[in-house]
C-alpha cells in the first residue's frame, strides 16, 4: 500500500529520533559503534558479527579512498560547475626512443559517470548497512540490559538457512540485477543530460553536462528534429495499435474457426500453424524481406512483387512507397504473429464454460451475439494484461521493422536526423547510437521518452481494463 506523505515524514522523523536519541542515550559501546561499526557487537559478545561489520566499514573506506572517491569527485565537480565530466584531455606525443606517437591517457568521461553511479549506489548500500548496524547495536544494549544473552554467530548462520532463507536466496540475484541492470540503466539515463556523441567520443575527448538541452531540442526547441520525433512517434503508435489488434483478433478468429465442431483434424491444423513458430523469427523476416524486394524489372524483384504484378498488374513498391510499405509490414507481422495468439486463444476458448454457450443458445442467441456477449468479454477479461504487454512489446518491436524494411523508404521532406518513414522510435534510436553521428545523447533521450510513454499508457490502460475493474465479478 502506498504510504501518504504525512505518515512518511512521521516515520522519517521517528527514525531520526531513534538514530540521534540512541546516540545520546546509549552507553560507550553503543556510542562507539556509531563511529566504528561493529564496536558494540564485539563488546557484547557478538564478535564475529561485529568483525564483519568492521570489515564492511574498512572495505568501504578503502574503496572510496583507492577507487571510488576520485570518480565521485570528478562526477560531481562537472555536475555542479556545468562543465566537462573529467578535466584532463588525452594527448599524443612523439616518443623519439620508440619512434611512435604515444598516448597520454586523460580522463574518460564515460567511466567517470559509470563509476560515479556505482560509487553512489555503494554509498547508499553502505548507509543501509550502517544504519542497521547502529540499530542492532542499540537493540543489543537493551537485550543485555534486560539480562538476556545475545544471539550467537552460529545461530545467525543457521537463521540464514532457515528463518532468513529469503535473504540468502535473493542476495545473488539482487547483486546481479544491481550490477547488470540498475547501474548501466542509471548511467544511460545520465547520458541524456550530456553532449555525448561522435564529436565528444571517449576516451579521446571529454563530454560535458548540458542539463535538459537535449530534451528541449527534441520537444520543440529544434523544429526539424521535434517534427521528426512526432512523426516517428505517430507511426510507432499506429504500428503498435495495428500490430497488436490484427494479431489478436486474427489469432482469435483462427482459434474459433479451428474450434468449430465441424472442423476435423483440429490437432493437425493447430500443428501446421504452430510449426511456423519453429522457424526463428529473423529467418522468416529476412526471407520475407527478400520476397518483397522491389526492383526495376520483374526479374530483379522478389517473388511476391512478381506475383502481385502478374496477377493484379499492379506494382508493389515495397520500400519505395510509404503507405504500401507500412501496410505490407503490418500484414507480414500478422503472418508471423497470428499463430502465437491463436495458441493462446485456443487454450482460453476451451476454458469458457460450455453452459454459458448452451444457455445462450436456449435463449436464442446467434453465433454473432454469442461472440460479442460471451466469447469476447471473456477473452478480454483474461487477456487484457497480455494485450497491454503486446502493445508495449510492439512499440519496441525492433526485429520486424529492422529486418523487413530497415526503416525504408527515406523521405527527405518529412524526416531528418537519419529517421526514415517506417522507423519506430526503437529503430531510430539504434541508428542514432550506431550510425554516423553516434548520437548517444539523443538516443538516450528517446529511450527515456519511450519508457515514459510506455509506462503511462500501460498504467492508464491496465487500470481501466476489465481484468482490474471487474476482478470480483467475473469468475
Amino acid at each position: 500500500m502506498p504510504m501518504d506523505l504525512g505518515s512518511f515524514f512521521k516515520r522519517l522523523g521517528r527514525k531520526c529520533g531513534d538514530f540521534f536519541g540512541g546516540f545520546a542515550r546509549g552507553d560507550l559501546a553503543t556510542k562507539g559503534s556509531y563511529l566504528v561499526m561493529g564496536f558494540g557487537h564485539i563488546r557484547r559478545g557478538q564478535a564475529a558479527r561485529g568483525l564483519m561489520y568492521l570489515l564492511v566499514e574498512i572495505a568501504f573506506i578503502a574503496y572510496l579512498a583507492l577507487f571510488g572517491g576520485q570518480y565521485l569527485g570528478k562526477f560531481f565537480y562537472g555536475f555542479f560547475t556545468g562543465g566537462s565530466v573529467g578535466t584532463v584531455e588525452t594527448h599524443d606525443f612523439w616518443n623519439d626512443a620508440t619512434g611512435v606517437y604515444e598516448k597520454i591517457p586523460g580522463d574518460n568521461s564515460f567511466k567517470i559517470i559509470l563509476y560515479g553511479v556505482l560509487t553512489i549506489c555503494i554509498i547508499v548500500f553502505f548507509a543501509i548497512i550502517y544504519l542497521s548496524s547502529v540499530r542492532e547495536s542499540r537493540e543489543l544494549e537493551r537485550t543485555v540490559l534486560a539480562g538476556k544473552k545475545p544471539q550467537g554467530f552460529r545461530q545467525d548462520l543457521r537463521d540464514l538457512g532457515d528463518k532468513k532463507f529469503h535473504l540468502t536466496m535473493l542476495a545473488l540475484p539482487m547483486l546481479g540485477l544491481f550490477l547488470f541492470t540498475v547501474v548501466p540503466l542509471l548511467t544511460m539515463i545520465l547520458i541524456a543530460f550530456t553532449n555525448y556523441d561522435a564529436s565528444t567520443e571517449v576516451p579521446q575527448h571529454l563530454f560535458r553536462w548540458v542539463g535538459f538541452a537535449n530534451f528541449g531540442d527534441i520537444l520543440g526547441g529544434n523544429a526539424a528534429m521535434s517534427g521528426t520525433f512526432l512523426r516517428v512517434l505517430g507511426w510507432t503508435l499506429v504500428w503498435a495499435f495495428f500490430a497488436t489488434f490484427t494479431n489478436y483478433f486474427g489469432g482469435m478468429i483462427l482459434a474459433l474457426l479451428i474450434n468449430q465442431k465441424v472442423v476435423k483434424h483440429k490437432k493437425l491444423f493447430r500443428t501446421i500453424f504452430v510449426a511456423t513458430i519453429a522457424v526463428p523469427q529473423f529467418v522468416s523476416l529476412l526471407i520475407m524481406s527478400k520476397m518483397l524486394t522491389y526492383g526495376d524489372s520483374l526479374e530483379m524483384s522478389g517473388i511476391i512483387v512478381q506475383m502481385v504484378s502478374r496477377i493484379f498488374g499492379a506494382e508493389l513498391k515495397f520500400g519505395v512507397g510509404i503507405t504500401v510499405t507500412r501496410v505490407c509490414i503490418i500484414l507480414v507481422n500478422m503472418w508471423i504473429g497470428v499463430p502465437y495468439s491463436m495458441l493462446i486463444c485456443s487454450g482460453i476458448l476451451m476454458n469458457i464454460p460450455a453452459e454459458l454457450y448452451e444457455s445462450s443458445r436456449i435463449d436464442g442467441a446467434g453465433p454473432v451475439a454469442t461472440f460479442f456477449y460471451i466469447t469476447l468479454p471473456y477473452m478480454l477479461f483474461v487477456t487484457g494484461p497480455y494485450l497491454i504487454t503486446q502493445f508495449i512489446g510492439n512499440i519496441n518491436n525492433f526485429n520486424v521493422i529492422y529486418l523487413l524494411s530497415g526503416g525504408a523508404p527515406g523521405d527527405l521532406l518529412r524526416y531528418t536526423d537519419g529517421a526514415k518513414s517506417t522507423d519506430l522510435l526503437i529503430t531510430w534510436l539504434y541508428k542514432l547510437s550506431l550510425g554516423v553521428d553516434r548520437n548517444y545523447k539523443l538516443a538516450s533521450v528517446i529511450g527515456i521518452l519511450v519508457f515514459l510513454i510506455s509506462a503511462t499508457m500501460s498504467l492508464l490502460v491496465y487500470n481501466k481494463s476489465s481484468a482490474v475493474q471487474k476482478e470480483d465479478e467475473f469468475q
Binding site: M300, V320, V436
Partner: protein, 428 residues
C-alpha cells in the same frame, strides 16, 4: 533439499549473467612462429580485414614474421569489411585490433575518437615517398594548422565506373548516358546505376558541375564547425531536371544494389552497370570476354554534355591509437602496404595499387579495369571531408522519381523543395 536446489538455481542464474559478459569471439588465432629465438621479443598483433582478404593477409603477416626472425609473433585475425570497420572499431577502441583496414572516408571519425595512431619518423617519410599523391592526401588531415598523417594507403580503387556487355553496346554508345539509355531502350534492356538510396553514386551528377560543392570547416579536433553546400541553387535544379529525364527514360535501373545488379546481369535484363571493382568477378563470370569497362559517361545537364565525375576513395590500413605494441604495429602496417605486397594484392585480387612503382608497372597499365580506375583517379574527387550529415538525405533525394508512376510528372517546384530540404539537413 528444496532450499538447496533454489540456492543452486540462484547461483546458476548469476553465473549465466557473468558468462554472458565474458568471452570474446570473432578472432581466430594463427600462431606463425613457434621457435623462440633467444634475445627476441614476443608480440601478439590483431589484424582486421575483409573476408576476401583473409587468406592473402595471413600470407603477408607470416612473411613479415619470417622477415623478422629475431622476434616471435602471434597474429590474430578478425573478419571485418572495410566499409563499416570504423563503426566496429569505435564500439570499443581500447580493445580493438592493432592494425585494421578501413575505407578512407572514415578517417576523420577514427582520428576524432583517438582510434588511429599518428604516423611519424622514417616510416612517414617512406610512406610519402612511395605512394601516389592522392593516396597520401587521403591519409592526411589538418589539425592545429599542421598536416598529419594517420594511416597507410593500401589500395586505390574505391570508386565506380562502367561495366558493359560489348555485344549489346558499342564503345561509342557508352560515351554518353543518353545514347546508352536510348540503345538499351531499343533492346528493351536496362542500364544499372544506383541513383536511388545511395548518395555515393548520385553525387556523380552533382560533381559533373564543378561549381556545385560542399565545404566543411573543421575545428582543431576535427569536429565539423560549419558545413556549406550549394546544391539548392539554379545549377542544382538543372541536375535534378536531368535526373528526372533519365529516370523517366525507362531504361535506367536506379533502384538497385549489388545483389540486384548480379541478378539482372545473370538473367540478361541489365546490359551495363555502374559499380566498382568488387563486382568484377561476378560480372565477368556471366559476360566472360564480352565484359568491357569504361569511364563514367557524359550526361546532358542544363542542355550541355558534361562528364560525370565521381568519388575516388582509398582503402587504408590504420594502427590503433590504443595498441599495446604500436612500434610493431606500425612496422607491420608499413609491411602490409609495401611495394611487394601491393603487387601481390593486385595479382591475387585485382585491387588497384597506391604505390607509385606498382602503378607504373606494365601489368597494372595493361589491366583493363585498373587502368580505367586510375584514369578516373585523375579527375574524380577524393572522398575526403564529406559532411557527416551528407549521406542520409542524399540517399532519399530521388525517392519521388522511383515512387511515382511517371517520373516526368514530378514538378520543378517539388525538385526545388527537395533540394532545399537536402541542403537544410546538411548545412550546419
Amino acid at each position: 533439499m528444496r532450499k538447496r536446489i533454489a540456492l543452486a538455481l540462484s547461483v546458476l542464474m548469476l553465473a549465466a549473467l557473468l558468462a554472458a559478459c565474458g568471452g570474446k569471439s570473432g578472432t581466430q588465432s594463427d600462431s606463425s612462429q613457434t621457435a623462440q629465438t633467444s634475445g627476441g621479443q614476443s608480440y601478439t598483433l590483431t589484424v582486421w580485414c575483409s573476408e576476401e582478404d583473409q587468406a592473402m593477409t595471413k600470407e603477408m603477416c607470416n612473411a613479415y614474421a619470417a622477415a623478422h626472425p629475431e622476434n616471435t609473433y602471434k597474429f590474430l585475425y578478425g573478419v571485418q569489411g572495410e566499409n563499416d570497420a570504423a563503426d566496429k572499431v569505435l564500439n570499443d577502441p581500447e580493445s580493438g585490433p592493432d592494425v585494421f583496414a578501413f575505407a578512407s572516408d572514415q578517417i576523420n571519425k577514427l582520428i576524432q575518437a583517438g582510434a588511429l595512431a599518428r604516423v611519424g619518423g622514417e616510416i612517414l617519410t617512406d610512406l610519402q615517398n612511395v605512394n601516389s599523391e592522392g593516396s597520401v592526401d587521403a591519409c592526411t588531415v589538418t589539425i592545429d594548422g599542421e598536416n598529419r598523417v594517420y594511416a597507410y594507403p593500401c589500395t586505390g580503387d574505391n570508386t565506380y565506373f562502367l561495366y558493359y556487355d560489348s555485344t549489346k553496346l558499342s564503345a561509342d554508345d557508352v560515351k554518353s548516358l543518353d545514347k546508352m539509355l536510348e540503345s538499351a531502350k531499343k533492346q528493351d534492356k536496362l542500364v544499372a546505376f544506383r541513383l536511388y538510396d545511395d548518395g555515393w553514386y548520385l553525387s556523380s551528377f552533382f560533381f559533373a558541375d564543378p561549381e556545385l560543392k560542399y565545404s566543411v570547416t573543421y575545428s582543431d579536433d576535427l569536429t565539423e564547425k560549419s558545413v556549406e553546400i550549394n546544391y539548392d541553387n539554379a545549377k542544382g535544379l538543372e541536375v535534378m531536371k536531368a535526373l528526372r529525364g533519365y529516370f523517366a527514360s525507362g531504361a535506367l535501373s536506379a533502384n538497385v544494389d549489388d545483389s540486384k545488379v548480379i541478378a539482372g546481369v545473370q538473367n540478361g535484363s541489365i546490359i551495363a552497370a555502374v559499380t566498382g571493382t568488387w563486382m568484377r568477378s561476378s560480372i565477368q563470370n556471366v559476360w566472360g570476354s564480352n565484359m568491357a569497362v569504361a569511364v563514367l559517361p557524359t550526361a546532358t545537364i542544363g542542355g550541355k554534355q558534361v562528364q560525370l565525375n565521381g568519388y575516388f576513395g582509398y582503402k587504408l590500413l590504420g594502427v590503433n591509437g590504443y595498441s599495446q605494441n604500436k612500434g610493431e604495429a606500425h612496422k607491420l602496417a608499413q609491411w602490409l602496404t609495401n611495394e611487394a605486397n601491393q603487387t601481390k594484392r593486385f595479382e591475387t585480387r585485382g585491387l588497384g595499387p597506391t604505390n607509385k612503382a606498382v602503378m607504373a608497372s606494365d601489368a597494372v597499365k595493361n589491366d583493363a579495369v585498373i587502368s580505367v580506375v586510375l584514369q578516373q583517379a585523375e579527375y574524380f574527387r577524393t572522398q575526403k571531408g564529406v559532411p557527416g550529415s551528407y549521406w542520409t538525405p542524399m540517399a532519399s533525394l530521388t525517392k519521388q522519381f522511383v515512387e511515382s508512376e511517371d517520373p516526368a510528372t514530378v514538378s520543378d517546384a517539388t525538385l526545388q523543395e527537395l533540394l532545399d530540404a537536402l541542403c537544410k539537413q546538411i548545412r550546419k
